[in-house]
Amino acid sequence: MNATNMLFLDILLVIALLSLAWATLTATDARRSVILFIAFGLVLTLAWARLLAPDVALAEAAIGAGLSGALLLAAVQHHPRRALSSERQNTGKLANEKQNDSNPADLKSSVAIRWTLTLFCIALAFVLIWALLQALSSETSDTLAQSVSANLANSGVSNPVTAVLLNFRAYDTLLELAVLLTAVLGIFALSEQRTGYLPAGPVFNGLVSWLVPALILMAGYLLWVGAHAPGGAFQAGATLAAAGVILRLAGKRNIGLPVSKSYLNIILVIGSGLFLLVGLTMLALGRPFLDYPPAMAGYLILLIETAAMISIAATLILAFLGGRPRNREDRSC
């Protein structure tokens, strides 16, 4: 398809994205911001698809449109008094409300500071645009991209993004799993889980009864397909986590996480742990750290990805719970 035919799509998508971003950032009410942000994520998925980044579009569809929306909505729900106060006043009575210039929030910080920071941001935008134009207009040699495609045959997978994530730049992915683990530990340190949800009605229960198995199947499919087409541990983990989040929202007690604390710890660590173990085994075999023998690379990557999917899903479900899960023993007292 030639590019000129897509121009209308590009222009309209960009308009939609910019207006949604602006509305998200200037909304006077937190819940409104969150809903606008969800819509922003949906349009963004289309932009990634159009820019030939299906791997990113998959992750955005699973995380941007599903998980982070649920996460933020749950956070808004947690402060019903504060979050709803301004929405209530506006609903119904003022059909087309306008941005109020004399917002009390605006008066708090001094006008001078606001203007200075705004000017700073405008200046930064110009620097950023200049740098981007420099980067795009210079004759790129693309040595990295070329070496990726040159070595793809030896990586064990045929999807270049998976090859970069789990073979060529495996260090980054290992450290990223460590970052996820750190985030969960931080959440554990701060708080216990949020209060649960009321049991779902029949309609929502009907939805849960087919959606959860469908999401689990989809996660397995994405994990498997990631070797040769867009997909992989991150997208699969996010999809699996969505199943847990749905169960949680339906008021179910058992949301797929093990009840026992030690099993839970194992599940959280297995992704980065197995990754590290494979890396160290390579060292023991006299190869550089995380440098797989090409014959075995495909199997090793599948193994690591499966473990990573489990850890990522558990991390994201715990992130939605918002703290350490309460044990059954604690509940009795």
Binding site: A3, M6, I11, V14, L17, L18, A21, T24, L25, T26, A30, S33, V34, F37, L44, A47, W48, L51, L52, A53, D55, V56, A59, G64, S68, L71, L72, A75, H78, S109, L117, C121, L124, A125, L128, I129, L132, A135, L136, S137, V148, S149, P160, V161, A163, V164, R169, D172, T173, E176, L180, A183, I187, L190, S191, F234, G237, L316, G322, G323
Partner: protein, 95 residues
Amino acid sequence: MLTAHWLYGLSGCLIMTFGLRAVLLNDSLLQRIIALNVMGTGVFMILITIAYRGPDAAPDPIPHALVLTGIVVAVSATALALTLIRRLTEEQDND
């Protein structure tokens, strides 16, 4: 340079700076977190635009891998920040 580069690259820059302004100036902590996410999205858009090489060429996989990890890290950081806010309001309510 392609038209798509202009359009998406410039809007990536704009979204990033809009987001930064809101992070700095918004009063609500929750909305600051959302603004941080929007800002991150702007950066992702710049990266994906750099990776794009026209409708017929395969895009550069390295920025795609970077953005993929970025999305997952962003959501876990968001969750951590939301837990921090919840703890903060709990402490304030206790006072």
